[in-house]
Amino acid sequence: MPLLEIKNLHVEIEGKKILKGLNLTVEEGQVAAIMGPNGSGKSTLAYVLSGKDNYEVAEGEVLLDGENILDMAPDERAAKGVFLAFQYPVEVPGVPTMTFLRTALNAQRKQRGEGELSTPEFLKLVRETSKYLNIDQEMLRRSVNVGFSGGEKKRNEILQMAVLQPRLAVLDETDSGLDIDALKVVADGVNRLRSAERSMIVITHYQRLLNYIVPDVVHVMARGKVVKTGGKELALELEASGYAQFTDEAA
């Protein structure tokens, strides 16, 4: 059974139609890349999956393990295993990163009816993960993302993902604003989290990221729909030919 099934999804923001009958299936353990020109609805899809408000679903379903998640609040979806790595991670003044991680993890475990993770287990998990993401202890004490560089913010997103162990991770333009070294660190962090039980949707405008996070499947989005699906070689074709072939059709 696929982990995620999106059927005929229509989404509007303030009366403007963004997603127009999107269909997408992501199998368990699959890494699916979504590429597409600006304005094709990629980030909207990411927000709709994680439950941001102001996005009006006019039609369609989003099934996670066969269960429609569209009526769930963002925190309920998170407890079901949905995780969004933000394109622009939000600064949370006054909340130390460590407190944030622990509060989030325990809130999810509570919603799932699991006990809190013990402090040594939690610390071990954070320490191991932060090590390969080049996150030092000082950063963990600081307020979430406050004063972090672009690269630090993106690494912090992956740290959260590693701690929360989602079933479906949506990475929204995780490569934006990263230089090549930072990109490698982030991609390495993501690759470590690939597993047979975890699916990922990697949203990107450029092919570059997909050299480091190699997808199982590539979907092309344009005008609010998936317009083409192929193997990883599709990303290279797009890099050569551009998105014009998809946007021109709209004209």
Binding site: D75, L84, V92, A104, Q108, Q160
Partner: protein, 435 residues
């Protein structure tokens, strides 16, 4: 245009009658009678401040104080449940001012530090003819005149030159009557050159009684002294309180002030600070957590009359229900006070559509080589922040609580005394849980 004498309100009439009746019996007659009389005359001519008095624009006392409560009588025995419970975990030397009078039987032993002298207010005035009450800034205010006219007692604390007082001194103002009444405490704190003091002031009283407090504190910080003053307002929910704080800061001194307000129906903290010597620092902060129909006004005037001083003012308020939070802050830089560095920031977090925040920052700069600025924001919780937290699995209510806590924490963390920091953060958490 000739001044029009407005008709006296019932409260003003009651105050006149009370002054006439009580004058002969108010304490300290032989030392402060003339002072009381002069202050009352000034008050009587002006009346209760109202919205057309610019300094009182947002706190129309004439409208808010419908009646003047009778003067509070002496207190009974100290209650077993303790006083100012918000601070019960903070170790300090307790000085209790109950119903406006110093009550040794409610207080702890005299301050443990031999370098601190504690004297009853009128005794101090009698013993120290050189000390003139009301020489600190803030004397030109109707609420202050009223306090001077009716001042019922208090203490004078003097910290000896160079002494580092380890344990905080806690002046606890308590209303302990069975029926609503008014109290007018006045205290004086003198910190001699190079001395260090943490001074806590608290205000508390029973729920459901619309008692009235008009307090004044004179704080003299001599050269090189270091003073941390933390004022905690946890009055009963029907109380009306006006507190005037006048501070002079000598040269090379360090002054920190924090006003935390959580209780009371109508509260005005008015703080007047004057830097009189060069090279001093002042950090004047505050946080208010309000709900229901609470009205809390923090009014601040910082006067740089000596150059080379740094002042920072940071006030935050969290406003729920139909509450009303006010911040008025004025930085005055006198012509010769060059190299002044003054910055003021106020932020209000509105948790309901009915809550109201008013911010009035003012700069009056007469020197040309200064750095001064101010900023003010008011708004609801950022929905993007809340979504970010929720997307990580944190439920809506918990996400809100965490963000409000962080907002308040940002300024409470500036308190140097760890015990006070913890006590006030705990009070904020309790407030959040009761939402």
């Amino acid at each position: 245009m000739a001044d029009v004498m407005p008709i006296k309100t019932p409260a003003e009439q009651a105050l006149s009658a009370a002054f006439a009746a009580a004058r002969a019996t108010l304490p300290g007659k032989d030392v402060v009678d003339a002072l009381r009389q002069a202050a009352f005359e000034r008050f009587d001519a002006a009346g209760l401040p109202h919205r057309r008095v610019e300094e009182w624009k947002y706190t129309d006392l004439r409208a808010l104080m419908r009646e003047a409560r009778p003067l509070a009588g002496p207190a009974g025995a100290k209650p077993a449940r303790g006083i100012a419970n918000v601070l019960s975990g903070v170790e300090a030397d307790l000085v209790a001012i109950v119903n406006g009078r110093y009550e040794p039987s409610w207080s702890g032993a005299k301050p443990s530090d031999p370098d601190v002298t504690l004297t009853e207010l009128f005794q101090f005035v009698a013993d120290n003819p050189d000390y003139k009450l009301g020489q600190v800034p803030g004397g030109n205010d109707p609420a202050y005149w009223l306090n001077t006219a009716f001042m019922s007692g208090g203490v004078a604390l003097r910290v000896k030159r160079g002494a580092a007082v380890a344990k905080p001194i806690h002046i606890a103002h308590v209303f302990a009557g069975d029926a609503a009444a008014a109290m007018y405490p006045r205290s004086v704190v003198i910190v001699e050159p190079g001395a260090h003091l943490t001074l806590i002031e608290s205000f508390s009283g029973p729920e459901g009684l619309d008692y009235q407090v008009n307090s004044a504190l004179e704080l003299v910080i001599d050269e090189g002294a270091c003073v941390d003053h933390i004022k905690v307002g946890c009055d009963g929910g029907s109380a009306l309180r006006v507190s005037t704080l006048g501070v002079t800061v000598g040269g090379k001194a360090n002054y920190r002030d924090f006003a935390f307000t959580i209780g009371g129906a109508v509260v005005r903290n008015q703080t007047f600070v004057r830097f009189t010597g060069e090279g001093s620092e002042g950090f004047i902060d505050g946080a208010s957590l309000l709900k229901g129909r609470q009205h809390v006004d923090n009014t601040l005037v910082v006067n740089h009359s000596a150059g080379g001083c740094v002042s920072r003012e940071r006030f935050k308020s969290v406003l729920d229900g139909e509450s009303h939070g006010i911040f008025q802050g004025k930085i005055v830089v006198e012509p010769h006070a060059q190299k002044t560095d003054g910055k003021m920031m106020t932020r209000a977090l509105l948790l309901s559509d009915e809550a109201e925040a008013d911010n009035k920052p003012e700069l009056e700069i007469f020197a040309d080589d200064v750095q001064c600025g101010h900023g003010a924001t008011a708004g609801a919780l950022d929905p993007m922040l809340k979504f970010y937290l929720m997307s990580r699995g944190i439920p809506a209510s918990e996400a809100e609580a965490l963000l409000i806590q962080a907002f308040v924490g940002g300024v409470v963390e500036e308190i140097a005394h760890a015990g006070m920091r913890e006590a006030l953060m705990l009070a904020a958490l309790k407030w959040l849980r009761s939402r």
